[in-house]
Amino acid sequence: MGGMSTAESFVLAIGTKKGLWLATSPDRKEWSLSGPHFLMSEVPSIGIDTRDGRTRILVGVRSEHWGPTVFHSDDLGVTWSEPEEGAIRFPEGTGAALERVWQIHPDADSRPGVVWAGCEPISVWKSTDGGEHFELNRGLWDHPHRTEWGAGYGGAAAHSIIVDPSGEKVHVAMSTGGVYRSLDGGTSWEPRNKGISAYFMPDPNPEFGQCVHKIAADAAVDGRLYAQNHHGVYRTDDDAENWESIAEGLPADFGFVMLTHPRRAGTAWVIPLKADGERIPPEGKLAVHRTDDAGRTWKRLDNGLPAVEFNAVLRDAACVDAAEPAGVYFGTRGGSVYASADEGEHFTEVASHLPDVLCVRASTVSAALVPGAVTSAALNA
């Protein structure tokens, strides 16, 4: 039995324009794919919550006909549940209705049960019951800037939520609006975009209004964040008081993805696209780029990726896991999904010809949870 309880497997949840697929692997190289779940509904957000002794997959699901909702599964997708009244509902009086859940972010291990969500219309939500019921963050919703925030092509949403270990410092990024920071756990918010360009506005350096595509926190350096902007790649070392460009050495400064290492300082990944007007991998050659020195230098990583790929990778269609070495995963709008078990040095194809990939999330799970999986531990049990 001891073997069973410790045997680990990997799960990669793939949210697409037309449903959710789950891939499992004992080694992050050979993958078994199951699905679709929620066929014909898009799945733009996934959170895998392994705290509190369970493995809960939370998914934001949106049907063109029947609207958005949040489902969760505690058995790796064998069964799904949704709260009858809905996990996320705008309160009466706001006059707003949920359009899409863009982000589901389980909080730190020290705060089990706390899950954050970022949504369209631009809003941040917090759950304290594992993602079954969320409460609207009023500080951000009532912010005087809200009427001036705009919509990017994909909609107006809060898409990145970063909470520091203390729980007091929270950074949110929205398109469009930029980065907002709270130092009181989300009660009050101020824009923090100094140094980030908004070339598409009359004043290219406004206080807010930037189209920040994704932000991620350095795992080991307090106050350090990275941002992939709508043109521009940036780092801050002072909790977003000042941002500086780290785009030099990249083939393009446009893109949607920003990933950071789960433990190591200075390591981040981006997936450049040529430009706003040409949202394709530069020259049709898809590559991940990694820095190990906080953006001073970048290394091109394309081992195992196709020679020709003209599809873009969206902001949440990439993730890392927490294993050692860290795994890197991403999916394209052409429905190909790739995994690396060695921080991007080598990729293998997990799936191809799926619908447009909107979101991927990966985690280590107990092998005993994997439906139908035959593991050496199970055989020996």
Partner: protein, 95 residues
């Protein structure tokens, strides 16, 4: 009192305990809004599929009263008479 029937598309029937038709008894005219409140009262997940939290009918949900889609009538205020049937049909949408 005569019943008013609400006919559900098959994809929504699991959210109504497997029923294809929900009925409300009526001794006079009902509004579509009142009718939906009544028949989905026990099925909040079904209610959310039809209307958002402001009460608005979702964009690609079509509701027919006597063969006419309610957006061409009086919307959710459209009256439904005892004995009439209300059809809920998803519109042709998506790609």
């Amino acid at each position: 009192m005569a019943d008013v029937s609400v006919v559900l598309p098959s994809v929504l029937q699991p959210l109504a305990g497997g029923q294809s038709v929900l009925t409300a008894s009526a001794d006079g005219a009902l509004t579509v809004a009142g009718l939906l409140d009544t028949v989905t009262g026990d099925y909040p997940a079904l209610s959310r599929r039809l209307r958002d939290e402001t009460g608005a009918v979702r964009r690609f949900v079509n509701i027919y009263v006597n063969g006419n889609e309610i957006r061409r009538l009086q919307g959710l205020s459209t009256e439904v008479l005892p004995g009439q049937e209300v059809l809920i049909i998803q519109s042709v949408a998506g790609g």
